[in-house]
Symmetry: C2
Subunit: 273 residues, 2 copies
């Protein structure tokens, strides 16, 4: 890792699939730092961005602790990730419980390598039948940002299961969709079929970052992946803790969308039944 | 096959994945008859409906012949399929080139076991970069029907690749989506990932009927399948000619839609970017 390294195009992104059940924020940050620092010295030139899972900063399945661990978007959790981003010279996207105005949001923040908060997404759709419905106030919009010349959307977990969410982002110009998630091992169909379908049916890059291991009775699937616009799997994790990476070539978005003009033709479909 | 057999609930449907390249209509009907007649004497009690591929009646990759082979929706092609449906006591869904009012449509007809035309779907979205764009006038609506107490939608090939199309049908109450297709071996991602995702993200049954073999330079994938509302593959064909079947239990639609309320929650997603 060389601070101030020349900015490469296309960018290289990673996913840190952490086995974080029961870990403190300090321990999570340490694991993230060690994994990324190791990758930055690798032969591929390292990563420009690392994506972490849903509620990575607090733990996911810790309903009783979320209120006490929640922080404002630029509060103590942000300060720690911003410090790490600057130290590693890498952008970090991390899930955390956001203390809002009298409520808590299931949020994901994008902090640049310079330590700036570039975007903060609040999950709109709580996962059904989970503690989320009692804990979180839903967000109100799709979140997009520009970074290194790349239009990016952020969705959290259940949101990516809705084709409307990724279509909305792709139509608004997203070339890459970042998805922190917390998927248990019952739902392999989401990681294996739905997530690649979302990339393919819009011709966009999609990174899906899950937890590994166990947490208070939940068994996570792992299976994080980076999917190309033609649905090929550019990087995939197994069930255990891992850092995976892939190079995001925006030219492959243009090629996919030219070959299969879904973003043109979906407007022509008439839904009158 | 026993004409007048008691109508079973739930219904059992089949897909005839035919290696039909170069065959006449007579030869196609004969193969369909032989395959279905064999299945009707099987231990599982036979089929109530059989789904055939896109443009099954004429051949798919026969652009120069489509005008001469086209027939009105209740013309000579229909008469032959209606006769076979009555003889086999089975509903048949078949793709064919429909002679419209000064144009030709890429159509699929649903003929009941009594020989009645219950629905006729005209493909709305021509497959991009294919001969279809020069040959076919697009249809203007989603096609639905009721049969044996089951709400059914018909889509053709490229249409099912649009999440909007299956969502529209599911919201309108479809429990089963029938999809004649002509998919070449380059596009395994559609059969393996997109089609199961469509069933899962709506909690509906989906039957995807492809050609097998070769036809004028096209190599078909085969890979026809019947997908349950939880995305499990209830029946799947390999690359060769095959008749596959599965029992359609509408109760599994209710269970899937209760477990994952996508049809409720998609309305809550706000697309403002």
């Amino acid at each position: 890792m060389i601070p101030g390294q020349a900015k490469r195009e296309p960018v290289r992104i990673g996913i840190f699939q952490c086995a974080a059940g029961g870990l403190s924020l300090d321990a999570r940050l340490e694991r993230l730092r060690d994994a990324v620092a190791g990758a930055q010295t690798g032969a591929d030139g390292g990563l420009d961005l690392v994506l972490c899972p849903e509620l990575f900063a607090s733990g996911y399945n810790v309903a009783d602790e979320l209120a006490s661990r929640a922080e404002p978007a630029t509060g103590a959790i942000f300060a720690r990730f911003a410090e790490l981003a600057r130290a590693l010279d890498i952008a970090i996207v991390y899930g955390y419980p956001e203390q809002g105005d009298g409520c808590i949001h299931n949020a994901a923040a994008f902090v640049s390598a310079e330590g700036e908060l570039l975007a903060n997404h609040r999950k709109q759709l709580n996962s059904p039948g989970s503690f989320e419905e009692a804990c979180f106030a839903p967000g109100e919009h799709t979140t997009m940002l520009s970074w290194r010349g790349l239009r990016i959307a952020i969705l959290i977990c259940y949101e990516v299961e809705f084709p409307e969410a990724v279509r909305c982002a792709a139509v608004a110009g997203a070339k890459l969709v970042l998805v922190p998630t917390a998927l248990t091992d019952r739902w392999g169909v989401v990681a294996e079929q739905v997530v690649p379908a979302r990339a393919f049916e819009n011709g966009v890059w999609l990174a899906y970052a899950n937890h590994a291991g166990h947490e208070n009775g939940l068994d996570y699937l792992g299976g994080s992946k980076i999917v190309a616009p033609d649905a090929s799997i550019e990087a995939a994790a197994g069930p255990d803790e891992a850092l995976i990476g892939a190079t995001i070539d925006p030219g492959r978005v243009e090629a996919a969308q030219r070959r299969l003009p879904y973003l043109r033709d979906y407007r022509r479909y008439r839904c009158n039944t």
